[in-house]
Symmetry: C2
Subunit: 606 residues, 2 copies
């Protein structure tokens, strides 16, 4: 049904394939070395690697790494996992992506949305995070291998934006607790988090709040601060502006560094006004297969029980991982087209491998990819250097991470979330497509109030209903014309008449009795009709027979051979109503000369 | 979105309504006496009632009643309810339908499919049947009042036929147990019933089997037996043939009568070779509100618990009730159009009222409606007389029902089921639409193996996927033409481009680079474009910009004002690519004269 192969290969022509040639082409492609190399992109870029590439990739890797460290710790805390898990999830996916990844900019690691989706499972046991990583990886890779990426087309732009907005709202709200260091839980949904905030508002800690809000202000200012350079500026100033850009890109690390230093100095003076990250278990993780059983409240859950805990809504995690990753790849690919299949295989491999090293699900991250791109990365080797930096940090600096204030991390997450809330789409949908705005709003409201998974589910269902409503009411262009002095009405059937239109189409045809009562000849124009369902054909036949009893003559003009067969099969003898040929006029004229019809007709021929 | 009002009223014109006039028309209609009379059809037919009508309705009522009695007892047993419940369900819906019903032929009562759907709930407690009747009635009436009947259009012909076939298979298989009087249960699905039959095949009782199979043979022979009459036949022979037709129509009652007599005579001689129906509690039911709580295994379930037991799949019962009833009404209405809304209100009222009298859900029954029609019924009063006959039977003849052999009832059910299995559709779908055959097969297999509700669910989902696949791949007609010596390619966008087509449409447009590489002017023809989703527009813009970078000139011809706005909104400055007017040629010529484009083009103008 779907012609997925073509999408990934921009070289194949895109119109009118015979299925035979498609099979042959796929077979040819499977046998060629080139196509196997595409599945291992490192074999393509590594042989051409130069020293200049190396320098640029190292710089980009370090810049991204400096953001990955605080974000990794922060997102692990969003999910409720130990901080080092967020770092492991930046390391191993980064290494694997540098081998399988096809987009130089994409940076794989934990993301806020995946962490938020994971939180409710982690509340039971951290093992759910590691297993989720493994299972998500398997599902993503399977979808990639089976070339089922087209399924994502069924998630429309308004639903994606609505989902992202709901996620950003929920994640920001969940950080209020750390930002102000209030009591209670961070809540499973936006509404829960807001309620928790207001019920515990009296437990606010002054210094954490000050630090958290300062972090937010500092990050926003740093992002906007640019050293203006003109063509007349001195070389020194130009250099300064360039170096400043690196500071801007590493602003998350910078802010964390400053706050940790402050916390450290205060600690040496015996003061701990802020909640700190606390001890991080440094060094490498224990490499072992992902946990296929776990203990929750002293009860052992086996693999099947764990699957039951995930439930069908657990599928949202791999789905969102693919969505994020492909969307980001497309955004940064520019003119070159994205190989969706390869991206899915790469993200799948990242998750499968990293699940052996106590990692949480990872996918392309928008902020870090943007930094990577801006830092001038040239190949996926950038991912490798980023992974190395994070690896160094987790082995050497683990003790220093103790001093990172939680309010600072909350501030970093909130600023990241502000930037992914997109409001222009609301304005545009309001002006142009209010029904799509309803879909967007449904997704946001359900996502923020009931749960992110339900937001995406309800949004997709609403979209499907919208599409069905369109197929249920296909537009039938009706027009009147004269042949001789015979009034005729033609109805143009267009596209696919699916089961949903089985009441509407016959109703419109029957409608000629009212609106076009004068016309005694009705032409159904089938030139643009591509598919007609059994039920529609059946109902259409009964209407046509009704109209003939009412002294009208119906001609079905230029229907496909297969459609003619269907009608004849449903009502033997029906085939005499079909006429073919470039012009309908002669058929009408000859019919009026030879047929019973004109004797019963009050109009005489000219 | 849907224009449901029009469907029910054949007098309104059917094309091109302004929403305003629609509102006004509905308001006018709500205020007129005529429209209120339509909601109480008895007020329309009773004033015109004549003695001849009375005679014909009484004859039809008696004929149908004679089938309703054995079928009522049999279907109650299919559901696992006491036999008298099946009779009550023939009486009270019949009385109510004679007031609210709009189709003279339709006969309301228990049906095999509803009984089969009910069985699994009744296995817990009979109260579930009575409450199901009440809730189904409420849902059906609500759907009727809200004019949501169009929702049924989303169940296609193959799914309905597949569901019916699966139901017939399951019900027939469940009767094997009574037919051969074997041990074990009758099973929740076709597969269960067949497995049960073969595992307990050694427990077959000879005389029950003989009686059951004889019943089946007798019914089939009686149905086919006709006394041939020609124009030259004697009056006596003609009269005989007419009377024989009544015997044929009352064949179920006849067979039951004969078998019960045999069982009675054998019993007086001290022999009971057959399993008998046993004691039936005669007289009227206890009139009381439907049970909103019940006891299952000594545990009291309140209303909420009972709803949980029904689950969402419980909604299949009202759905099937509407489907059966409307399909039957349409089949027998002939030329007159069926008022779907009124039918739903009537069936809803039947179920609500009868739930106060220990009845099971009831709807239009195909067999009895056919007999009613054949017996020459003239008004819904036929239903009233049928109800009276069944009422007489349940009060006076309850003791006689004791002797009806169960194998005879099983035989009656099986013969009724054979007749609803429709196989012509399989042949036709095989020849004309294999993909719809897959939907049919899925429905049958899921319905027979997993459960009838799941069959209908899977079938509808498969249909929706099919429809989405069509909307995902809208047909874009591409053609090449010359203006001057300038090669142009035009792509005609047709109908609604929904979110599902957001990859396909831009891909086809991008495809002009391959297949139509010579053409430097690309025309997107929007004359027949009715709706375009946000995501499609966005992707289309990016493709158009790509094509322009590739030295092609794109014109968007005759797009709707609102679509032009959307494009301009998404990409300011885009509006200059839109051109309107009857002919595109002059736009291409003037563009080539004045535009940068022709300087860069290798082709020169003539």
């Amino acid at each position: 049904m779907f012609n997925k192969m073509d999408r990934d290969d921009p070289r194949t022509p895109l119109l009118g394939h015979a299925p035979n040639s498609r099979v042959r082409r796929t077979a040819t492609r499977l046998c060629s070395l080139q196509s196997w190399k595409r599945r291992l992109p490192v074999t393509i870029w590594l042989p051409k690697y130069t020293f200049e590439f190396l320098l640029r990739d190292i710089i980009a890797g370090i810049t991204v790494g400096l953001t990955s460290i605080p974000q990794g710790i922060a997102y692990a805390m969003v999910a409720g996992l130990p901080p080092q898990v967020g770092l492991y999830s930046s390391i191993f996916p980064g290494l694997v992506y540098s081998i399988f990844g096809s987009c130089k900019d994409v940076t794989v690691g934990p993301t806020a949305i995946l962490s938020a989706l994971l939180a409710k499972y982690v509340a039971k046991s951290a093992d759910f995070a590691y297993l989720a990583s493994f299972l998500s990886g398997c599902i993503i890779m399977l979808l990639g291998i089976l070339q089922l990426g087209f399924l994502l087309d069924f998630i429309s732009k308004p639903v994606i934006c609505g989902f992202t907005t709901a996620a950003a709202l929920q994640i920001s709200a969940s950080q209020l607790r750390s930002l102000f260091r209030i009591a209670g839980s961070s809540g499973g949904t936006f509404i829960d988090a807001i309620i928790n905030f207001f019920t515990h508002i009296t437990t606010i800690h002054l210094w954490d709040s000050v630090l958290g809000i300062s972090t937010i202000i500092a990050l926003i200012l740093l992002k906007r601060a640019v050293i203006p350079v003109s063509e007349t500026s001195s070389i020194c100033r130009t250099q300064l502006a360039k170096s400043w850009q690196y500071v801007v890109r590493a602003r998350n690390a910078l802010v964390v560094f400053v706050c940790a230093i402050v916390a450290f100095i205060l600690k040496t003076k015996g003061l701990t006004p802020f909640a700190l990250t606390g001890t991080i278990q440094g060094g490498l993780p224990n490499f072992s297969p992902p946990p296929f059983s776990t203990e929750v409240l002293n009860k052992t859950l086996d693999f099947e029980d764990m699957l039951t805990v995930y439930g069908p809504e657990g599928l949202v995690m791999p789905l969102v991982a693919i969505l994020e990753s492909i969307a980001i790849a497309k955004a940064f690919a520019g003119a070159t087209s994205v190989d969706g299949t390869q991206e899915m295989i790469a993200i799948g491999a990242c998750n499968i491998v990293s699940s052996f090293a106590q990692s949480m699900p990872a996918t392309g991250s928008f902020t870090r990819t943007a930094i990577n791109h801006a830092s001038g990365v040239t190949t996926p080797a950038g991912s490798f250097f980023k992974a190395c930096l994070v690896l160094l940090a987790v082995t050497l600096l683990a003790d220093a991470f103790y001093f990172i204030p939680r309010a600072t991390l909350a501030g970093i997450i909130m600023v990241a979330m502000f930037s992914i809330i997109e409001l222009t789409i609301v304005k545009r949908l309001w002006r142009n497509s209010k029904i799509e705005l309803v879909v967007y709003a449904l997704t946001v409201v359900m996502g923020a109030c009931v749960g992110l998974e339900y937001g995406i589910l309800v949004g997709v269902c609403a979209d499907i209903l919208r599409a069905l409503a369109h197929t249920a009411r296909p537009n039938i262009h009706t027009s009147m014309f004269k042949v001789g002095n015979q009034d005729c009405v033609s109805l143009v059937l267009v596209g696919a008449l699916s089961f949903a239109s089985c009441e509407r189409v016959p109703r419109v045809v029957r409608g000629v009795r009212g609106e076009w009562a004068r016309a005694r000849v009705v032409i159904l124009d089938g030139r643009q009709l591509h598919a007609i369902d059994y039920g529609v054909a059946e109902n259409l036949i009964s209407v046509i027979l009704d109209l003939e009893e009412d002294n009208r003559r119906i001609l079905l003009w230029n229907f496909k051979e297969s459609h003619q067969q269907l009608f004849e099969d449903l009502h033997p003898g029906f085939s005499e109503k079909f006429v073919n040929g470039p012009s309908i006029d002669q058929h009408i004229l000859s019919m009026c000369k030879h047929h019973w019809f004109c004797n019963m007709n009050e109009l005489s021929m000219s």
